[in-house]
Amino acid sequence: MVQYSESGLDASFAALSDATRRAVLEQLGRADASITELAGKFHMTLTGMKKHVGVLEQAGLVMTEKVGRVRTCKLGPRRLQEETAWLERYRQLWEARFDELDTVVEELKRKEKVDGRKKRE
């Protein structure tokens, strides 16, 4: 894996190129899990799962934290960036809608003014 350490993006690509590691990410998206739990779920040895988690961790896709004898894994900062990017696209959709709505509101305001004038006449 040494050749991938130069750039974070390469590390991500390499980490995601493996089906098991993608499945681990999906699993962690549902709930945090210990390495032992992950190994059990994917029918792997503890050592094998540790290697996969290590690759994901290097890529910033997973974070691990050791409490006592248990190492807990959760989604890492890179995954959070993805959520931030999605939220920004979501915001842009609403912004585009609301810009159109501004035009509609202005039009309805003008119409209300005209109608109000007509009633008084």
Partner: protein
């Protein structure tokens, strides 16, 4: 009328804010320069609603827009996107309709459970603060919405990545 509107200076746009409030909630806020009764009207009259709900920049067009805005009434919106052969339908029912202040409806197109949208209209000094609140049935449902809404979808990205890696592997392979 249109010519006049174009010649008027564009007023400063009010900012739109979005936030993932909790595991299951998304919130959008925006202020409009008009009274709540007008903004509410734009959300509840289909002929007005369809003028702004699907901006052109989305690449989508609204084929049908049926809205029976009253408690227990249903709605059905059908969209077409350039990238998809089949139109997409969004539907549900209104569970609360309080004129000029509150609108609540369900989104029932996803099989994973009902998502509830609450829109509140709060008028202050002739302006209206609008809050759109989306409550998903579970954290998983919101995560899935985020994942599938990522550029082209998560799994699609992975597939492209797989292809890319195969190509790279082939070109640098022994």
């Amino acid at each position: 009328m249109d010519a006049k509107r174009e010649s008027e200076p564009t007023p400063m746009k009010n900012p739109t804010a979005t936030q993932r409030k909790t595991d299951r909630e998304l919130v959008v806020t925006r202020t409009f320069n008009g009274p709540a009764r007008i903004v509410f009207e734009a959300w509840t009259k289909p002929e007005i609603f369809k003028r702004w709900w699907v901006p052109k920049s989305t690449g989508m067009s609204l084929l049908t827009c049926e809205m029976d805005v009253r408690v227990g009434g249903t709605y059905r919106l059908v969209f077409r996107h350039d990238a998809f052969p089949e139109p997409m339908a969004f539907f549900g029912r209104y569970i609360e309709v309080t004129p000029h202040s509150r609108l609540v409806w369900t989104n029932e197109e996803d099989e994973g459970g009902e998502q509830v949208t609450t829109v509140t209209f709060e008028e202050k000094g002739g302006k209206t603060l609008l809050v759109v609140h989306d409550l998903y049935p579970s954290k998983e449902a919101l995560d899935a919405a985020i994942a599938s809404g990522s550029t082209g979808g998560f799994s699609e990205q992975f597939e492209q990545l797989d292809e890319l890696l195969v190509t790279l592997g082939a070109s640098v392979g022994p």
